[in-house]
């Protein structure tokens, strides 16, 4: 069966692990448990009548304490750049991280995920900035690991894009 490696990238506490858990196990926990390493999960999805195993690399969030090793990106077919929509700085961090990712892994399909879309009253991302990024070519999806909103869509869109590549 076809296998595709997807990396979950972004700042700490943006919800990468929650998105994977929601997608793989349909579970969500309110408690924040920080990740300090890499966890690899797998899930089979069907794309255009073809079964594809997505190998999901949930990589710890980057911050002053832990930097992401670029060797983790080796063999990656696509990535989700996850942002916490209620924390503006996580978008800046994600875009800065994206520069390094492109430098290391080249251009591969990616989706900019604005997670925590259930918290719109605390939303900090400027809509103008969001539309500017979309105009610049970013595929942006708002999702919520908590409610499950658009989570399947995020992974299936990325899977479809990876297969086209």
């Amino acid at each position: 069966m076809l296998q595709k490696k997807i990396c979950m990238l972004g700042s700490f506490s943006v919800g990468k692990t929650s998105l994977v858990r929601r997608f793989v196990e349909s579970i969500f926990s309110e408690a924040y448990h920080t990740s300090i390493g890499v966890k690899v999960d797998k899930k089979v999805v069907r794309v255009d009548d073809e079964d594809v195993t997505l190998v999901l690399w949930d990589i710890h969030g980057e911050d002053v304490y832990q930097k992401i090793r670029m060797s983790y990106l080796r063999g990656m077919s696509g990535y989700l750049l996850v942002v916490d929509g209620t924390r503006n700085p996580t978008l800046d961090d994600a875009l800065a991280l994206n520069e390094r990712v492109i430098q290391e892994a080249g251009k591969v399909p990616a989706i900019l995920v604005f997670n925590k879309s259930d918290l719109l009253d605390k939303w900090e991302i400027d809509p103008a900035r969001e539309s500017g990024l979309a105009e610049a070519g970013w595929n942006i999806l708002r999702a919520s690991a908590k409610t499950g909103d658009s989570v399947e869509k995020v992974f299936s869109q990325l899977a479809a894009a990876m297969l086209v590549e």
Binding site: K5, F12, S13, Y32, H33, T34, I36, G37, V38, K39, V40, V55, W57, H60, G61, D63, V64, Y65, Q66, R69, S71, Y72, R74, G75, R87, N88, P89, D92, L95, A96, E99, I102, Q103, E124, A128, G132, A136
Partner: protein, 688 residues
């Protein structure tokens, strides 16, 4: 049975899993494979079978690539994988770390089960990241308060724009000397109010909080005697009105160096707040005395009055507390003395108040003398009188100079977009009187409609307007321009002159912005900078010179020397060249430092903003190569792609270093000291 070293045996006995690489991804277990490892790798026996380690672990498979590189490099030490989590055959998660090393020419891979250690590590990271999140939330709260404050400032600055505009318009008229005096006072006071509003903003702004948090005291230097004089000049009419005598005692020694570590606008406000406070409690026919004393490493400044003295029983520190007001509540919000306290303390000084033995009260503050390094990097004491004063003399002088100049060298078509009617009319009137052709509209939608119907050289665009705000209107206009190839200069109008505002304006596509209340001189200068750089501006003031933008661009593109370019651009005006070079050499290192920090922090917006600022100042000197680099950096900032920013910045730095001696050669900037001595002689001559 293979033989093992003591070290290998020790590791196995400690619960590590050891494997020897035999190539082709096959490994042989060294010693007994621990049960946790067998469960993860799903090994069925303890035989000496070859184990395909990577088969069940994508993470390990990835790490083995790094391990292979390491083993082939024959390097010493070890390479580790970092933490990862795998599942055992029962589905339990096991935290692991792998190490690759060479032992006795064998390629050894060690697996460590981190279960015993992870809890502590997890706790540490959890606490650290929770703290980071709490810090982020705090910053976010501060930001929200700042936004609220900015809204207040915006509301306050709206009527002030009208007041300032009225006085500016009056100043353009031929007025009887008696009336002229009142107009000057009105201009001065409206400027003072503006400065107070900005002061409130800066006192509570994030920048200040950041400085407070980091204990940063800044590198600015201010002259205590100049600020004291300015305050006296500013308040003399108010004291006169109340019948209170304001004097300086003992007389200030002008030859002394009164510079302290602090910045002039805030120091000026400290004196202003203390005088305002004193005036409130001073009875008519009493005297208020300002004095300065040199106390070695410190200077003491005091304001003595002959009022009732401090309220009995009120601790001195409470006088300086936030929102503290006197018993009579005759003061304002209780911010003035609090501002003095936080500012003085931030500069490493102390502040206090006491009831004087002979009656009345003394408010005082003590500030450290500016250290030698700072003094050398800032203006010399003899230049103190060249510090721009917010006084009637300077304001009216400047106004009159412009009014004497009369018409303009190029009639600009200006669209004023402003929702407040009075401000719209006043700005329109000021521009019309200047000789420009002016249209006015009251919101963004109307601005777009006007732009589609007419051609404008400049569009003044308020930020906050009904129907469509200025930022959205700017974006729409920029889109329309892509089909026409035209470029109207759009200048934002904002009540909040913060870097965040500047960023928003520039990101939306504006070319510049003006803070409200709009000052006449600044308005003219900004509007007219469309057609010429400041040096040409000066040149054109003394007589119209045909301006050919194409030729100017061509000249800028040429690699002509700075001296040649400056000479041509300033018409050989040495004084103007001096001013331009001096200002550039003072400001450019700061901007370069901002750019460096922005690149280091991968802050694209700050990079764009700083590069934009530098582009404007550096282009005055031709410097085609430097301009091209700065333009690249600005573009990188705007696009968010900072990949090549580092090398570009290094090229810019070396270009700046190359320019520096050239700049110093064409100006007397390299000889600041001799110039200062010359001034000192002139001054002492005057005194005699």
């Amino acid at each position: 049975m293979p033989s093992h070293s003591i070290f290998e045996s020790f590791l196995v006995s400690q619960g590590y899993a050891l494997f020897e690489s035999l190539g082709d991804g096959k490994f042989l277990a060294v010693g007994d494979c621990p049960s946790w490892c067998r469960d993860i790798l799903e090994l069925t026996s303890q035989t000496e079978e070859l184990i395909p380690l990577a088969a069940n672990s994508p993470f390990l498979e990835n790490f083995l690539v790094d391990a292979e590189v390491f083993w082939n490099s024959k390097a010493e030490g070890a390479v580790n994988s970092g933490n990862w989590v795998d599942r055992d055959k029962n589905g339990h998660e096991v935290p692991l770390e792998a190490f690759a090393l060479s032992l006795d020419n064998k390629r050894i891979l060690i697996l460590q089960n981190l279960s015993a250690h992870l809890a502590e590590q997890q706790q540490w990271f959890q606490t650290a990241r929770n703290s980071l999140l709490a810090h982020e939330r705090l910053l976010s709260e501060i930001q929200k308060k700042e936004i609220l404050l900015h809204c207040i400032v915006h509301d306050l600055s709206q009527p002030l724009t009208a007041i300032t505009g009225c006085f500016n318009l009056l100043a353009l008229e031929k007025l009887p000397p008696a009336i002229e005096k009142y107009v000057e006072a009105g201009q001065r006071e409206s400027q003072r109010q503006e400065s107070m509003i900005r002061g409130i903003l800066s006192a509570f702004s994030g920048d200040l909080m950041e400085q407070q948090a980091s204990g940063h005291t800044g590198t600015a230097v201010a002259d205590l005697s100049v600020c004291a004089r300015q305050a006296i000049e500013q308040f003399s009419s108010a004291f006169k009105d109340k019948g209170v005598r304001l004097r300086v005692a003992p007389p200030l020694d002008d030859s002394a160096d009164w510079r302290v570590a602090g910045d002039a606008p805030r120091l000026h406000r400290i004196f202003g707040n203390l005088l305002e406070n004193t005036l409130r409690y001073s009875p008519p026919k009493s005297t208020v005395t300002i004095g300065l004393e040199d106390q070695g490493g410190y200077f003491l400044a005091f304001v003595d009055d002959e009022g009732p003295g401090l309220p009995q029983g009120l601790p001195t520190n409470q006088l300086f507390a936030l929102f503290s007001r006197g018993k009579s509540h005759s003061g304002k919000a209780g911010l003035g003395l609090y501002f003095c306290k936080i500012t003085v303390e931030r500069w490493g000084g102390t502040i206090g108040a006491e009831t004087r033995a002979q009656g009345g009260s003394r408010f005082w503050f003590r500030l450290p003398r500016a250290n030698a390094k700072l003094r050398d990097s800032q203006a010399t004491p003899t230049e103190k009188h060249s510090v721009p004063l917010q006084s009637s003399a300077s304001t009216s002088g400047s106004t009159k100079q412009i009014s004497r100049i009369g018409g303009v060298w190029k009639r600009l078509r200006v669209l004023v977009t402003e929702d407040t009617e009075i401000n719209r009319e006043l700005i329109g009137e000021l521009l019309t009187k200047r000789g420009h052709s002016v249209s006015t509209v009251s919101d963004g939608l109307q601005a777009i409609a006007a732009f589609e119907r007419n051609r404008f050289d400049v569009i003044l665009m308020d930020q906050e307007m009904p129907n469509m705000n200025g930022l959205d209107a700017t974006r729409a206009i920029r889109k329309l321009e892509t089909s026409t190839g035209r470029h109207a200069r759009i200048i934002g109008l904002t009540g909040n002159a913060t870097s965040e505002d500047e960023r928003r304006c520039l990101n939306a596509g504006m070319d510049a912005f003006l803070s409200k209340p709009v000052r006449m001189e600044k308005l003219y200068e900004t509007i007219e900078s469309e057609i010429q750089t400041p040096n040409q501006f000066e040149q054109l003031r003394s007589g119209p010179v045909p301006l050919d933008p194409a030729a100017a661009e061509e000249a800028a593109a040429d690699d002509e020397s700075v001296a040649t370019h400056l000479h041509r651009a300033t018409g050989g005006n040495k004084k103007l060249q001096d001013t331009l070079v001096k200002s550039f050499l003072q400001d450019a290192p700061k901007t370069l430092s901002l750019i460096r920090r922005a690149i280091a922090k991968r802050d694209a917006q700050k990079l764009a903003s700083a590069a934009h600022a530098l582009k404007g100042s550096i282009s005055i000197f031709g410097a085609a190569k430097a301009v091209a680099i700065v333009r690249n950096l600005e573009a990188m900032g705007r696009s968010g792609h900072l990949f090549d920013a580092g090398p570009q910045f290094r090229a810019l730095e070396s270009e700046f270093e190359r320019m520096k001696p050239e700049l110093q050669a064409v100006s007397s900037v390299a000889n600041v000291k001799p110039r200062a001595k010359r001034k000192a002689r002139t001054k002492s001559g005057r005194a005699r």
